[in-house]
């Protein structure tokens, strides 16, 4: 298939994907760095390129609430947010997943206050990592475009019926221009057929959002988790079915394998790491494993990829204050422990509040890791990449 390539920022790529996805309702509240997604969509809706209701709402809490109402009425819905806005939505995120409603939300990741800071880290989404949403991370604008389109299909799959958060780094992805291969409109339409699902309708009256006593509550949460786990399989299927086969990167994106040191990360830092490793020709030492599906966490795939690891270096872009490890390291260590692996794991916290990750810093880190594995240093370490 001959694909059109457009120069777009991550935010523009998200908006373009929404434009092609035949959404019925878009709602959002302004917050940096997400805002230009909604500005672009307002332009598309205003020009008649998208036949959707544009609800310019008074808060993020209401934005997600309106998505819940609209999705319950059978609509395909989209919203976008960042940071404080996501934190403000936190309460209703659990309702969206608990009611099993497909909703797609773009999250241009940004640090949480205080101190107030508009730049990227992952503390916003990590605060909601147990909200029952499918959580996808993107490496670049192309990934944003592909993942937003795929997210609608994934969310609406009858085995899933869950909201999906498509995460990408604020500014470094949301505001950086790159060529994006876009599908023709009709391909996206074909990829996203309308599916019957439960909804509010006079013809079949249904009570959505009733209250449950302990027994029913417990069971409903167990069923909900099954659906989230099923989303892992469906994610792979959706990637297979996606018309642009070049964009298939997997739940964990590994461009190459075989290195003794595994660098695990999420978001656009994967690009910087790969660039460094490739230009320094260090592929036989370092693999870069970019976790694109954070919830459900692809632990089997991870263990496959860590099979030959001598050292695992996990890069977290948020803290989990007072915890044993930051979020991504915790996942990796749990998976390793369950698989019976004893391998040293280094926990690296980087980029808080947008602190740049320079090639020099990467060089220093990889140098230490290379020395660590050469000298068979078996202990785990905590590193703050300041």
């Amino acid at each position: 298939m001959l694909l059109n390539s457009l120069l777009m920022t991550g935010n523009e790529a998200a908006a373009y994907a929404v434009k092609q996805s035949d959404v019925d309702l878009i709602t959002a509240y302004p917050i940096t760095p997400q805002t230009t997604i909604v500005e672009k969509l307002a332009e598309y809706v205003g020009r008649g390129d998208v036949k959707a209701a544009m609800v310019l709402i008074e808060s993020e809490h209401s934005a997600l609430s309106a998505c819940i109402g609209a999705s319950a009425a059978g609509a395909r819905v989209f919203t976008a947010t960042s940071s404080q806005g996501l934190a403000y939505m936190h309460e209703v995120m659990y309702v969206a997943s608990g009611l099993r409603l497909p909703i797609v939300m773009a999250v241009a990741n940004r640090a949480l206050s205080a101190p107030i800071n508009i730049h990227c880290d992952h503390s916003d989404i990590m605060g909601s990592r147990d909200s029952g949403w499918v959580q996808v991370f993107c490496e670049d604008p192309q990934d944003v475009y592909d993942n937003v389109v795929k997210a609608f299909r994934l969310a609406e799959d009858p085995r899933v019926l869950l909201p999906v958060a498509v995460n990408f780094n604020g500014f470094t992805t949301s505001h950086s221009c790159e060529p994006v291969a876009v599908l023709p409109d009709e391909e996206v339409r074909r990829f996203l057929p309308r599916r019957e699902r439960h909804r509010l309708s006079y013809d079949e009256p249904m009570t959505i959002g009733g209250f449950a006593l302990p027994d029913a509550y417990f069971e409903s949460k167990v069923e909900q988790e099954k659906a989230l786990r099923a989303a892992g399989r469906v994610f792979t299927e959706v990637e297979e079915l996606y018309p642009n086969s070049e964009s298939k990167r997997g739940a964990i994106h590994a461009e190459w394998t075989g290195g003794r040191v595994k660098l695990i990360c999420m978001g656009d830092v994967a690009g910087s790491l790969r660039h460094f490793v490739k230009t320094q020709r260090l592929q036989d030492i370092f693999d870069v494993l970019s976790v694109r599906l954070f919830r459900p966490f692809p632990r089997r795939r991870l263990i496959e990829l860590l099979n030959d690891a001598e050292l695992v270096v996990v890069m977290d872009r948020s803290l989990s204050p007072g915890a044993v490890s930051p979020p991504l390291v915790s996942e990796v260590k749990s998976a390793l422990y369950d698989a019976g692996f004893r391998v040293p794991v280094w926990s690296v916290v980087y980029g808080l509040g947008g602190k740049p990750v320079t090639l020099r810093k990467i060089g220093r880190l990889l140098g230490e890791a290379e020395r660590g594995v050469r000298e068979r240093e078996a202990r785990s370490r905590r590193i703050l990449l300041r």
């Binding site: 019925d24 309702l25 709602t27 036949k51 959707a52 209701a53 609800v55 310019l56 709402i57 008074e58 808060s59 809490h61 209401s62 934005a63 609430s65 309106a66 998505c67 819940i68 109402g69 609209a70 999705s71 319950a72 009425a73 059978g74 609509a75 819905v77 309460e91 209703v92 309702v95 009611l99 309308r194 509010l200 309708s201 006079y202 013809d203 009256p205 249904m206 009570t207 959505i208 959002g209 009733g210 209250f211 449950a212 006593l213 029913a216 409903s220």
Partner: protein
């Protein structure tokens, strides 16, 4: 105009067997409101007594489509439904439904006020019904901003200080085409207001007084009497505001003494103690000022 019971819609939206208290004013009000709404419609409910007594899984008392999301966002949920249905209808993916929001005083005047303000300003087409039982009854009778001056609640053991918010003024300040008060005792007035509200394109607002025997501390058999006395003492005047024009629907030229309304309710026993006569005076002054203000606005 509805003037006889059989002129109301014959379809009961709520099945019997829900778990509301005997004599629950809120459930009577909700039933009356919905009997007057032509089908098809969708009910959006804020967290509160009505939600809890009607939706205990695996049962539901609702025979119409119903959604409950959370406490503070019923107006936002309704915004999403209303806006989505317009588009889905255009695309041939859904039929038209009216949207009726049901929320208590806390879910409307306190925690839900922002979402309500936003929805009214954006002019979504729905009927918003606040059933006002003047406190957080579902959590155990804590004061809300619609609790009256001097009333006992579990968080105001010595009486709440200050008057209740003016919800109708709040709605009117957003330029809604129609806002009105209603009492379940005056069911024809209530039903006709619902019918009238639904003739407007845009948000309409109904503030219904819903006596609560648990929270107001009265015998369950007295709900209707108290709903009646609230109006006849001028405590809760029945009026409507249509395109900015005020009209008093039940002109109380010779009000009954306020004490007749207060004495039936244990929640006012503190207020009615001789040593608290000043509180009673303050409440009376507030009730009179409200009425006089209304008479001025209605130009009658």
């Amino acid at each position: 105009m509805v003037s006889r019971l059989d002129e109301l819609v014959g379809f009961e939206p709520l099945s019997p067997g829900h778990s509301a208290c005997a004599g629950c004013g809120a459930m009577i009000a909700v039933r009356q409101v919905l009997l007057a709404v032509p089908q098809p419609y969708i009910v959006v409910n804020a967290t509160g007594c009505v939600e809890v007594v009607t939706t205990q899984y695996p049962n539901t008392a609702w025979r119409v489509p119903y959604v409950h999301v959370a406490f503070e966002n019923a107006a936002a949920v309704a915004s999403g439904i209303e806006a989505a249905l317009r588009v889905l209808k255009e695309k041939g993916l859904a039929r038209d439904h009216r949207v009726v929001v049901i929320a208590g005083d806390g879910g409307t005047a306190d925690i839900g006020l922002q979402a309500l303000s936003g929805a009214l300003e954006r002019r979504h087409s729905f009927l918003y019904v606040c059933y006002d039982n003047e406190a957080y009854m579902n959590t155990g009778i804590q004061r809300s901003s619609l609790t009256p001056h001097g009333a006992w609640t579990s968080t105001t053991p010595f009486g709440k200080a200050g008057p209740k918010k003016d919800l109708i003024a709040f709605a009117v300040s957003h330029g809604v085409p129609y806002a009105a008060t209603a009492s379940p005792y005056f069911w024809k007035d209530l039903a006709n207001k619902v019918r009238k509200a639904l003739t407007f394109d845009g948000p309409t607002f109904l503030h219904v007084l819903a006596p609560c025997n648990r929270g107001w501390r009265f015998d369950p058999s007295l709900t209707m009497r108290i709903a009646k006395l609230a109006v006849e003492t001028r405590y809760f005047p029945l009026y409507e505001v249509e395109e900015g024009k005020y009209r008093i629907n039940y002109f109380v030229s010779r009000p009954r003494p306020l004490e007749e309304f207060l004495r039936l309710q244990e929640r006012f026993s503190y207020l009615l103690r001789p040593e608290n006569a000043h509180l009673l005076e303050e409440l009376k002054r507030e009730v009179e000022a409200r009425w006089e203000g209304l008479v001025r606005l209605a130009g009658s």
